[in-house]
Symmetry: C2
Subunit: 311 residues, 2 copies
């Protein structure tokens, strides 16, 4: 059972999303929201972020009801972080139509006293300098992880490498892994990143699932074969939330726990794609999650019937 809280630090946003399936405007979003919506199905979550004075805080009530502590969500005068994106017909590519940092530009994460003992610490995709400041504020975490993006890999490389040297796990997508490592081959990319610090490297591959490098183990989980991807926004953050949620729930992070955690991550990432924003996770049940994890087992399971070498 649960072994302490999950801490997540990251963006809390208002999104405007267009896909071939429709359009949603002024809906709650941001990495910390998607992460919390997924992780709170498993364990208590402590969220650190910032919003402007126009943010519809009541839209986060479903998180509170699931045990997400919003004591670290600062509300400041000004506009909230806003992002807009339009997905192409293939749903695998999108254009960013606008990014408005608002109060997020001045975000300096300060952990409430009660958050400092969090056991499972996830640093969402923010300035690596801020990620370092959060690492300085936590006391004896069980596992620390960070996400990042091309913007920081290019523009804040040294600070990012300092973060990577200090954390236990990094989650990033395949293009980011290639960019960070300089290796087109994802196996080489994963091994290169491990050598820079983190024992565990998780490469998110969108429709192709995820890869885990943990010590000298490699594990793959496929993408769930959804026929209707309604909105992929935040799927990578929901993935991380499912992964962290599972680890916190199990209270352990040995390689077999991590393998299962990646599958729970893929399950939550797939649910997230089924509706606009984090909506699908609002009333998602544990039974639905367990059903999907069982489906994942069927997706990759095979048995040995004949053995060439001895036949």
């Amino acid at each position: 059972m649960a072994d302490g809280s999950i801490l997540v630090v990251g963006s809390v946003a208002l999104d405007e999303i267009s896909t071939p399936f429709g359009r949603a405007d002024e809906i709650i979003g941001g990495a910390a929201v998607y992460f919390s919506a997924a992780a709170s199905l498993f364990a208590p979550v402590q969220l650190v972020g910032v919003v402007g004075d126009e943010y519809p805080l009541s839209d986060l009530d479903f998180l509170k009801a699931r045990g997400v502590d919003l004591a670290g969500l600062e509300q400041r005068p000004g506009r909230s972080f806003r992002w807009g994106g339009t997905y192409h017909n293939d749903m695998n590519t999108r254009d960013t139509t606008h990014t408005e940092l608002g109060v997020f530009a001045e975000f300096r994460p300060t952990l409430p006293e009660t958050f400092r003992a969090a056991k499972w610490v996830f640093l969402g995709n923010i300035d690596p300098e801020l990620q370092l400041s959060v690492l300085d504020q936590v006391e004896g975490p069980e596992l620390t992880a960070c996400d990042t993006m091309n913007y920081w890999i290019d523009g804040a490389h040294d600070a990012l490498m300092k973060v990577i040297a200090r954390i236990d796990m990094i989650t990033l997508n395949d293009e980011e892994a290639r960019q960070l490592s300089g290796h087109a081959n994802l196996t080489r990319a994963g091994r290169w990143i491990q050598a820079k610090g983190p024992r565990h490297v998780v490469i998110k591959k969108g429709e192709h699932g995820a890869m885990l490098f943990s010590d000298d183990h490699v594990f793959f989980a496929p993408g769930y074969p959804l026929e209707d991807v309604v909105d992929p926004t935040g799927a990578g953050d929901a993935f991380a939330g499912g992964l962290f949620g599972y680890l916190a729930r199990s209270g352990a992070a040995a390689v077999d726990d991590l393998r299962r955690a990646v599958v729970y991550g893929c399950a939550l990432g797939s649910f997230s794609c089924e509706a606009f924003g984090p909506e699908r996770m609002v009333d998602l049940t544990s039974d639905e999650v367990e059903d999907r994890v069982r489906s994942f087992r069927r997706l990759t399971r095979f048995t040995t019937a004949i053995d060439l070498a001895s036949a």
Copy 2:
């Protein structure tokens, strides 16, 4: 054990390949060669193809030694099919530097009498009209499959759809599946193709592995995490050879056999990438294949520890 021979009809070529790892010129290649090199590790193979009078037939001796019957390999006056390709640094993209059809342009596959009873029939990527003519020549096969490419999807659509309506299985890559079906979503693409005829659709995803749609089942096998991809040429054909080889060896094609067959396919595809041309498969042993299949099991296996719904 083996339940009849495998028949493969396809190109037998001379390739010129450049990769960041080096260069090979005038090496044996073509879909039927890669397929046979893989399949012959499992079961007898009957090859139908055509080469010019300059073809180094002795380079195919390793196939003969493994039970590949070359009675259907016609040698005609003229030049052999020649293909040249240069791989980019990421090894996932390549430029075709030349294609010279030679005697392959007039290829009209005629099955030797002893080949007509083949149980496992694989129609390599050739003109769909020729694929249809081969289907007319076989007698009571257990399973028929075809491969194809963008050239035929665009230029011989009606004939290709006739092939697809008649065969039991199609193997094609993800871009081809999207192009053929008009669906960007691979699950929709797979289901769409199944609805046109084949019970089994196998989508090859290169470094991301392969997906099998079989009746209402879906199965994923990952790409093997090779650190050094020396030459990806023919990997899809070696994949198909491993898949067909396993099916012929087991003598059955129920869904659990197909799942295992896809894993054997991924294993052979990965071996094929380890050296230029089909070279790695020349002295590949059954023990090495079985070792790799066991690795595939570890790559995707996870166990259930806690159940959210009951915890």
